[in-house]
Subunit: 121 residues, 6 copies
């Protein structure tokens, strides 16, 4: 993969830290760390698992860990990465067993709100 | 799916509570709850996600939640369900981002020990 | 205990998934899993601990795990199951020691809001 | 309740920090903090919940939070405080629902080992 | 340090439980436990670490544990205790590695809102 | 800072994955991710907080999150980074308040074992 230019990287970093509220004191460094480590150039860019599988495991971890804000973002990304609504629901039900029903109840509510927001498009 | 007989269910429940240390005071009820809710007749038997996908999300959740004993079991099951060693490693590296590097360091050590035990077969 | 009919079970499942926001894609299955595993026909229906004791341990776990939405529901159920307001407060203070003061601070705020909503009845 | 003398408090604090491995650099202060905040003079000494109820909620929280070492101690104390083995098993099964099956699997194994150690007495 | 009078302690306890919503059933006891165990007379009053260091470790723990409400309070206190905005941002970025990026994303958003509220002064 | 050569980076990565058990399937990539993201070239190399402060917050997070294996490593590094034994004990006691006494009890035991291993030198 051709390395992304520093300038392009900064542009993406800034788009990320527009979307995620970030103090200006660290904005560019934090954005660049996300670009390099998470996405688009971090673990998500590695070939070992495809984007759909990465969405599955990310949603699984965020549901289990009870991180509602990030979960909302990644349920949307999961749909973009080819997961069906039924698969996302099934995943959240499965996590009820491993992380407890309360985290799945939350996950279901977030999934519902993401699905409904998409239906309005 | 043909319902399993109560007798068969109890046989499986007892095999489970042989494998997982369980007080005799609750052994049969606990085993049956696992049979009906987890596996083989619980969420793992539902058609909405295949066994490989369920292994992916289970390993993701157990790594993120830092549950080393269950993780060891499910890395083995993941191999049985068709995940490659490379995919399991990739999954654990991905979870470093969402659950922190320490849980992935643990996950890597457990994966290594499971892989090595299999190589001895 | 006489088995509940499938029809009755579905009726209760639907009431649960009215109360808890759930995607329609999984609503009935998720509701039925809750009915069978959690309540009314799951662990809550077992004779080994009475309803008051089950409320005590559920509130303890939800406070310690920092699950505010479920905690709100179960503080209300705890009052219905015979816990006094003083006992619920005492329980939350006790959990400060085992789960940290921040989870108890949250629990106290939720208890206050549940108590006040009841006082308005 | 008559205040305990500073000398008596220190004696108890030292017994605690004998039982729990503690660096000598902080031993007496840490022991005294436990005496005053946890037990015997902390939350456990308050009249608002009896000792059996406090054991119930402590075991519930420790199971849900996955704290195996402390759980072992408190299952033993729970037996001393009047909980039956059946009640402790029932409690752990209940927590499977709220904290996930893996924490209950661990809890069951710890309960079994505590029960067996007592049977040897 | 001269012991604080019971009357003064109660006054501070009441100010704390004004600020943190607390059921009246336990207000004074809960406030006094905070005064004696947390602050101003608890761990925060001990000489072994200065106030700035205690703010560092408190913010680190609250970020890692994902306790947004308490984190907001302690980022403000951290500024009062001499941490710069840059140091707080750096701390939260560091915790991304140990607790996962999602908890740091939340921490950054909270830091931004606290910083902006102060800028309005 | 002069960029480290790829060859040097790989050498450090391999030393890390010797120390931390890692499956050979991902060893070099995982080691390099740690080098770039954690240390020596990741967050630990940033000037915004000194090494002592970074040890403080890392130990705080690992104690609160209950990650005993990593905590052991970082208590040792903390001593190397200039923290005194007294400060590390004080830190762990402070975290009892924010993460609960059980995680601090564990932290104290780990600190004791690290201190004693050093005394044998």
């Amino acid at each position: 993969m051709a390395e992304r230019s520093e300038e392009d990287k900064l542009k993406i970093a800034r788009a990320i830290t527009e979307a995620l509220a970030t103090p200006e004191e660290i904005r560019d460094d934090w954005g660049r760390l996300i670009v390099d480590t998470v996405l688009p150039d971090g673990v998500w860019s590695r070939p070992g698992l495809n984007q759909r599988d990465r969405s599955l495991i990310t949603i699984a971890a965020l549901t289990a860990l009870h991180r509602p804000n990030e979960l909302e973002i990644h349920i949307g990304r999961g749909l973009d990465n080819g997961l069906s609504r039924e698969e996302i629901c099934e995943l959240i039900m499965h996590i009820a067993i491993y992380g407890g029903f309360p985290v799945a109840v939350e996950g279901m509510a977030i999934a519902k709100s993401v699905f409904e927001a998409r239906s309005d498009d």
